[in-house]
């Protein structure tokens, strides 16, 4: 079945560590890609998105993601995490301009 996979269920890092969260999808054709963040007790907010162009996308709060078409991946990165980055991170794919599909989410815990 077509899907969006986030391999890491829970990631625990210390402050200043580098972060990479994996996201793979299995849809063919044109895809639009998103990363959303959900801070504890809050709603989902957009971190960044990719529609076309430069496959390295810069988002808010120092996050970036790289679209690698050959690997069907859209991994999220941040060079140095902060305690305030503790949240749930969702990768989402909008295949062929159809409905949005979300990954299962990755919980990030940053220890001060």
């Amino acid at each position: 079945a077509q899907s969006v996979s986030q391999h890491n269920h829970h990631v625990i890092l210390s402050e200043a560590a580098s972060l990479e969260l994996g996201c793979n999808y299995s849809y063919g054709g044109t895809v639009n890609l998103f990363w959303y963040v959900q801070y504890p007790g809050q709603h989902l907010q957009l971190l960044l998105k990719y529609f076309s162009g430069d496959p390295l996308v810069k988002g808010i709060k120092g996050f970036e993601a790289e679209f690698i078409k050959s690997k069907f991946s859209f991994n999220l990165r941040k060079p140095s995490v902060q305690w305030s980055d503790t949240a749930e991170y969702f990768c989402a794919v909008n295949p062929n301009n159809n409905d949005m599909r979300f990954g299962a989410g990755t919980r990030l815990t940053v220890k001060p």
């Binding site: 959303y36 709603h43 989902l44 301009n97 409905d99 949005m100 979300f102 299962a104 919980r107």
Partner: protein, 112 residues
Amino acid sequence: DTAVSQTPKYLVTQMGNDKSIKCEQNLGHDTMYWYKQDSKKFLKIMFSYNNKELIINETVPNRFSPKSPDKAHLNLHINSLELGDSAVYFCASSHGQPETQYFGPGTRLLVL
């Protein structure tokens, strides 16, 4: 100004009751959505509406019915509530597909 608002924020009710959750967006978007987020944070789309037309309806029981009185509102009615309906329900809106979706703060539903 709140872009996407939902009421109520919390809803505690008995099994078998009928309840409604309201959603309003003031972004001028033409597409609105309802998502269900379970206890494991898994986010699943339930419905989307575009110009009062239902676009998608995932495998959602017919006890759930979306009602859109106008472009700015998409309410969710739930009949004969069951224990398994307990979850956080998020409303979202976008300017068509595949644009960024803006999420409401969520409604935490607990069925006793």
